[in-house]
Symmetry: C2
Subunit: 200 residues, 2 copies
């Protein structure tokens, strides 16, 4: 057994705890090994639950990936909205804050970047969720920039930011990687979305 | 039989013809049904070849997808380089030409967009090829813009353009979709990469 003090938990707490451990195991294993290399048996061993418990919470490995992704995306959107709420009085600076907060959040735990930018593409089942995440990012950027630019420009900027995160994921040895991609992302966001040009 | 005049072909021509038909079948079926729904049997039926012929050219369905993708990516890079060669004397206009030519090429046959922007993600095996394509697009944009902006900004702009193509793929009913995404892509590219601001 896992050594957890199950005797102090109510059945509902135990249920939630198992679900949490299964999500944590999926998060770790999908990010490390990739969706196609992960099976129910391995997830259960990592989460120290039975396969019966797995199927009480998820219908399949694909379903687990969907929930792992949703948790990552939900956290990212929370961070975005939090950053967008900071009223700096200056849309250009607020935009930089939102872009910086998003990149810092997604890259802080590289597993998050791997789930959100690599594993999400492995199954057609997650296409809708990925599009919603991209749309949420675009909406927050568009709102934060307080811009006359069209929403499609914000969609493009969201894609630019995600491409930089993917680039960063491919160069794990780069010490200054995060600050370099953040600088490039802020440049593209401000140049494309700020009504006042930020160029000297 | 397919009614092709095989008797007029040399063995080498027949070999090339079969390979071409298998690539065409893969291109069509992957784009229409998705990688995971396509099998060797179906590809062969569509290409009117035997399974033995299939394995004379490709090791697996994944290998076929890789070659279908490579053909798409190679064509796209040719179009990009051609557009970049047009010397308008004005980097800002050349950049718009390159962006427009790329989007037109990728969207003209929606199957191409589906292979390049959706199916490419279905297997880890193609990650390297997708990164090379993104890198080639970034390089051509960077060169065409003749800019002091760093290469990472061009990488971001390449991601912005691809995000717009993905957005266009999800709204097949939009009559003006291509011109709208092209306008947004040109805006982001010019604002981010042109040394002279193009804003009024």
């Amino acid at each position: 057994m896992s050594g957890r003090t199950y005797d102090k938990m109510t059945p509902e707490e135990r249920h939630r705890d198992r679900r949490q451990r299964l999500l944590d195991a999926g998060f770790h294993l999908f990010a490390r090994d990739g969706y196609h290399a992960v099976g129910v048996r391995e997830v259960c061993a990592h989460a120290t639950t039975s396969q019966r418990s797995f199927y009480a919470h998820f219908t399949s490995i694909e379903d687990l990936l969907a929930h792992v992704y949703q948790r990552c995306a939900g956290d990212a959107v929370d961070v975005l909205r939090e950053a967008a709420r900071l009223d700096t009085g200056d849309p250009t600076r607020r935009l930089a804050g939102v872009v910086g907060a998003y990149i810092l959040h997604v890259t802080m735990d590289p597993r998050r970047a791997h789930i959100m930018h690599r594993e999400v593409h492995r199954t057609p089942h997650l296409a809708g969720a990925a599009r919603r995440m991209a749309g949420d990012l675009a909406d927050v950027l568009h709102l934060a920039a307080d811009t006359t630019a069209g929403r499609l420009v914000a969609v493009a900027v969201a894609g630019a930011i995600d491409e930089l995160v993917v680039t960063w994921m491919r160069t794990p040895g780069d010490q200054h990687g995060i600050s370099r991609i953040t600088a490039a992302a802020v440049t593209v966001a401000q140049q494309s979305l700020s009504d006042r040009s930020t160029r000297a």
